[in-house]
Amino acid sequence: MARIDPYAIYSLWLREMIRFFRLKSRVVGSLAPPFFFLAILGVGFRSTMVVPEGVNYIDFLAPGIIGMTLLFSATFGGLSMLWDREFGFLREIMVAPVSRLSIVLGRTAGGVTTAVMQGVIILVPGILMGLKITGLGGFLLSLVFMVLIATTFNSLGLAFASRMKDMSGFSLIMNFMVFPVFLLSGALFPVENLPPWLRILSYLDPLTYGVDGLRASLVGVSAFPLVLDLAVLAACCAGSLALGAYLFEISDVE
């Protein structure tokens, strides 16, 4: 059953691309919050925020906001299976002679691509506001982190969607998973500013390593060694992908 159909994966990916570029208002809508975070927090907290010595707040904030964009967009992408189930298109996908694994990979490829595109777009206002990127190598490395972050949360979204019967769980996930994950990740302020008991939760949050890795690669500042960020995030990514694929495999269409 673990057959991989590249053509089907491509087909599912292409569908996401067509939908992404067609629904321009949705794209603008989903880019607005990170843009406001960046523009308003970046200016508002510039002088008061305690960030590591010698770091501009915008340099600190922009990678965090990119992490946030990826988190929201990817989780949403994973959960969008709920819409396909609601509107019946999931049946069209499931009745095709395509392995469940290929379906997961195709959806994930689509969701990750759209999330990473949004993450990259958010770099632009960041740079306009004074973000200084270390160089091309750093940018390419940050793309690796973006893909890992997006895959992790897309798969978690898919895992949840596979366990839910209807749309009612959607806001539950958004409010009780996505927001804590975002706020604890150190996207807005250094994790070291938190009291020790909260800091433990931060260390359990995959996005903490994602944001730290983005900072390391984009601006060369980080709390952990880059290799640690990469290793932890890759492990989370593999784990959640496996979980999503497994839960999708055993889920019912109806």
Partner: protein, 336 residues
């Protein structure tokens, strides 16, 4: 190899104690246009979902085009096309994009896809709407697109779950034509569910009548109606002794049965049209005033009634209201 298109035995589906499909056996020939006819909740869609691998049966087994629905799900899926009862299109994509997606999922290369898309769009008269978003299609157009899609990858067996539900009479006619065409010209085996009797009667080579998860009758529409045999004649009576009239009439040897109820008498009569004068005469001799006489040849509705003792709940009644239904259902017990 001359095996059946579909061979199911003991197919059963239970939903927490409730038996939706109860030990169904089916044998559908290759090339056949086969109908599952039954009222709401009879279990038609559940049978389709099991045969198309969308749900696993609680019990029993089935081969679709020679492949086991439990163990060879991918092989079953490659052999079939399905139009589900509920919409299953992406409304953010155009008609062509929906079909293109479908073709890729079935491993069709670009040239074949393009050709088939033109073919099937022509077949359902949607060529001009190919590049319109599905959300801007009417219900009937969406349905036609789904039928086209089900056909696009040349399935061996096409399942259509209530393809004409909720469509206007004209669109339904069109769709009947498409279904018949592709069955004849493309040689596709078709399994269609419906709760419209005329649809089953008009389209199907053979019909299985389903009630409460069981097949209660299975044959060609003609043979099923011949089981009923006699025509149904209903006299609406102004006043007089209905029971006496019913008694008088049942003495004729061409009257299969006669039953009085309310202000009507229902008869089963061989060659009804030639007997009406004599019926009217008998009534006036008995001093019973007749307000109207109606007659119809047996329909699948009557067959359903015969086998289940009730009317198809929301099927078209085709004239005659509750009163007639009451007479009819009582008549059943007196047959032969």
């Amino acid at each position: 190899m001359n095996e059946a298109a579909i061979a199911a035995s003991g197919l059963t589906m239970r939903f927490d104690g409730f038996t939706a499909v109860d030990k169904v056996d089916l044998h559908i020939e290759k090339g056949e246009l086969f109908g599952l006819l039954g009222p709401n909740g009879a279990g038609k869609s559940t049978i389709i979902k099991m045969l198309t691998t969308m749900i696993r049966p609680t019990d029993g087994s089935a081969l679709v085009w020679g492949h086991d629905i439990g163990r060879e799900r991918d092989a079953v899926r490659s052999s079939i096309g399905v139009v589900f009862q509920d919409p299953s299109v992406d409304s953010q994509l155009t008609g062509r994009e929906n079909l293109d997606f479908h073709g890729r999922m079935y491993g069709m290369d670009a040239r074949l896809r393009q050709k088939r898309i033109e073919d099937v769009l022509d077949l359902v008269d949607l060529a001009e709407k190919a590049d319109v978003l599905l959300e801007d299609y009417s219900g009937g157009m969406q349905r036609r697109l789904e039928i086209a899609r089900g056909l696009m990858h040349h399935p061996d067996v096409l399942f259509l779950d209530e393809p004409t539900l909720g469509l206007d009479a004209q669109t339904r006619r069109y769709i009947w034509e498409y279904i018949q065409n592709m069955n004849r010209s493309e040689g596709v085996t078709v399994v269609i569910t419906t709760h419209y009797m005329e649809e089953a009667d008009y389209l199907c080579d053979r019909v299985a009548i389903i009630d409460r998860g069981r097949i209660v009758a299975l044959d060609s529409p003609k043979n099923l109606k011949d089981l009923i045999g006699a025509d149904l004649v209903v006299l609406e009576v102004g006043d007089g002794h209905l029971d006496d009239l019913a008694g008088l009439l049942s003495d004729f040897d061409w009257v299969v049965s006669a039953e009085a109820s309310g202000d009507a008498v229902a008869l089963r009569v061989d060659h009804g049209e030639s007997r009406i004068p004599e019926i009217v005469l008998t009534a006036s001799r008995a001093g019973v005033k007749i307000r109207s006489v109606s007659m119809h040849e047996p329909t699948l509705e009557d067959v359903f009634l015969e086998f289940t003792g009730k009317k198809m709940r929301d099927a078209d009644t085709g004239g005659g209201g509750g009163k007639l239904a009451a007479v009819q259902s009582r008549m059943r017990t007196r047959r032969h």
